[in-house]
């Protein structure tokens, strides 16, 4: 399964839709596409840096201090990303609010750092971390797309040149299904997507068994 390290995070080991990790920021920032992209980028950056740093620092940190050390490490990296975003993308930082800082105690990041710090191969570590980060971002983006298109009738991206950053969906922006942009809608949608993922996986497993047997 070595070659599956990256792809697994996108599909069968998707952190959000299969393991339901990192729900707190996922539910909170998935109402706008731009927020989902911003948080996803933050998660990928922190995850890659934290996994690499933890893997390299592990020999010099005593075993019983490691969990605390990882916590400090992740918090420091999140602060870095936070400060960089404040400097270069203040508007996005404003939108994300406290949820960017909350990545410091994100179960997805901490869990992955803890797990991968023991791994032998650094490149496999990085591929796994990248896969998990990308899987999280893709799932978040999917939820945000559905929520924003149906819940507000818009797609918010980043303003670029003459493009204002907001695409209006014709027809829907007049009477959007506002519940979907509220917290209840996020839970509802996540439930359906997780159920869909479970169904697809069950079907995949059946097909595998059939081909094996």
């Amino acid at each position: 399964m070595k070659e599956r390290a990256f792809i697994g995070g996108l599909a069968r080991q998707n952190p959000l839709l299969v393991y339901l990790l990192g729900l707190c920021p996922a539910l909170a920032v998935s109402d706008l596409v731009s927020k989902a992209l911003g948080l996803g980028a933050g998660v990928i950056l922190v995850l890659l840096a934290a996994v690499a740093a933890a893997r390299l620092l592990r020999p010099v940190i005593p075993e019983r201090l490691q969990p605390i050390a990882w916590l400090v490490l992740v918090a420091a990296l999140v602060s870095l990303v936070d400060l960089a975003m404040q400097a270069y993308l203040p508007a996005l930082r404003q939108q994300l609010g406290v949820y960017l800082q909350l990545l410091a105690v994100n179960c997805l990041i901490l869990g992955l750092v803890e797990r991968l710090a023991r791994s032998r191969s650094l490149s496999r570590c990085l591929r796994l971390a990248a896969g998990q980060g990308a899987g999280f971002t893709l799932a978040l983006l999917l939820i945000a797309l559905v929520r924003e298109v149906l819940g507000s009738g818009t797609i918010t991206l980043f303003p670029l040149g003459s493009f204002g950053g907001v695409i209006r969906v014709p027809g829907l922006s007049l009477y959007p299904v506002r519940v979907l942009s509220l917290a209840a809608g996020a839970l509802l949608l996540l439930g359906y997507l997780a159920a869909l993922a479970g169904r697809l996986m069950a079907r995949g497993r059946k097909a595998e068994q059939r081909s094996a047997g």
Binding site: Y175, P176, V177, R178, V179, L182, A184, L188, Y192
Partner: protein, 360 residues
């Protein structure tokens, strides 16, 4: 209630006498009992109300057919539950809503609230009420545009009685002692349209003090089927007699709500304790529809008497709190939906399941 040895109710082996009640039979009885109020609503609000009812029932049946056909490969339309859900949903919508709202609400009720959780009997919210809450929060604007009844002799247009009361709470009117005075102040004695209906309304309205009479008849702005507390109550008598709905829930609901409205309803108007207008609050809004037909839904209400009483009390208290201090004038739907979530907990009160008792 015990089922053990010595109690009047004891499980016996077959053969049993069977009265022959079926799910479909129960559903269709409820639909029949609801019909008078719906016909009355269509008479009061006109053709538009009929369209809303038809769309909500039609969309509900179609969704049921599609979802059960696609995912369950089973035909479940005949159990009548989709028809009842669509009808209840239509009753709880304002007559002037854009027609996509009843369609979306019916889809949500059947596909999301009922079938996603396993179909009839496994839903943990009343489908009609849950869908009403869904459309209320999604399209608040269209859902709070009201229309006065067509034959509105002696009635004010636009605002619902509860809306008026809410308005008075946020902008106090000097000298006002209760919500009914607002309604009476808005009464227009000149008949808008003379006809058999307005004649009938006027004659019937005289049986009770003006404002209360019109409210009991449903001759005020409001949702299509919730207006006439009188017709809804008449329809429910059959359901009580046939024990299709448990009497404990509406009794505890209306009782606790009436008591609270009487005891504390006067406070916001500066009238002091025990000066509230319980009759106004009992007749206004969707309370009759909610308490008699929705809270007592056998799927989403507790199984045993103590649980049912607590369930009713909770509904009554929450409705009163939401109506008096909530941001919306009406609180029935939210109160019942909230209490629906406590049903699994309430089912643990009042004795163990029969089978376990019999084992010992």
């Amino acid at each position: 209630m015990g089922y053990g040895p010595g109690s009047a109710l004891r499980p016996f082996p077959a053969p049993h006498l069977h009265e022959g009640p079926t799910t479909a039979g129960m559903m269709f009885s409820v639909v029949l009992c609801l019909l008078p109020a719906g016909i009355w609503g269509v008479l009061l609000f006109g053709q538009r109300a009929l369209h809303v009812l038809l769309v909500s029932v039609g969309a509900s049946l179609l969704t049921e057919l599609a979802v059960s056909g696609l995912f369950l490969r089973r035909f479940t339309l005949a159990d009548g539950s989709a028809l009842l859900t669509g009808l209840l949903l239509g009753y709880s919508l304002p007559p002037a809503v854009p027609l996509f709202i009843p369609a979306a609400a019916s889809f949500f009720a059947i596909a999301v609230i009922k079938q996603s959780f396993g179909g009839l009997g496994r839903n943990w919210l009343n489908p009609a009420l849950g869908a009403r809450v869904f459309v209320m929060f999604s399209w608040t604007g269209p859902m709070t545009r009201w229309q006065a009844p067509l034959a509105a002799a002696d009635v004010l247009s636009g605002a619902t009685p509860l809306g008026l009361a809410k308005e008075a709470l946020s902008h106090p009117v000097p000298g006002l002692r209760g919500p009914i005075e607002l309604l009476l102040a808005g009464l227009r004695p000149s008949g808008l349209r003379a006809g058999p209906l307005s004649d009938l309304l006027q004659r019937l309205g005289r049986l009770a003090p003006a404002g209360y009479g019109q409210m009991a008849l449903g001759n005020v702005a409001g949702c299509i089927g919730e207006g006439s507390a009188l017709l809804l109550a008449l329809g429910s008598i059959y359901l009580f007699v046939k024990k299709i709905i448990a009497w404990e829930i509406p009794a505890a609901y209306l009782g606790s709500f009436g008591l609270l409205a009487w005891a504390f309803g006067g406070l916001p108007f500066g009238a002091g304790l025990f000066r509230g207008d319980a009759a106004f609050h009992l007749l206004a809004g969707g309370l009759a529809l909610g308490a008699l037909y929705m809270a007592a839904d056998p799927v989403t209400s507790p199984l045993k008497r103590p649980g049912r009483l607590i369930f009713g009390l909770g509904c009554g208290a929450l409705t009163f709190l939401l109506r008096t201090w909530g941001s919306q004038p009406e609180g029935v739907a939210l109160a019942v939906v909230l209490m629906n979530m406590f049903v699994p907990l309430l089912n643990r009160i009042g004795g163990r399941p029969i089978s376990r008792e019999a084992e010992q």
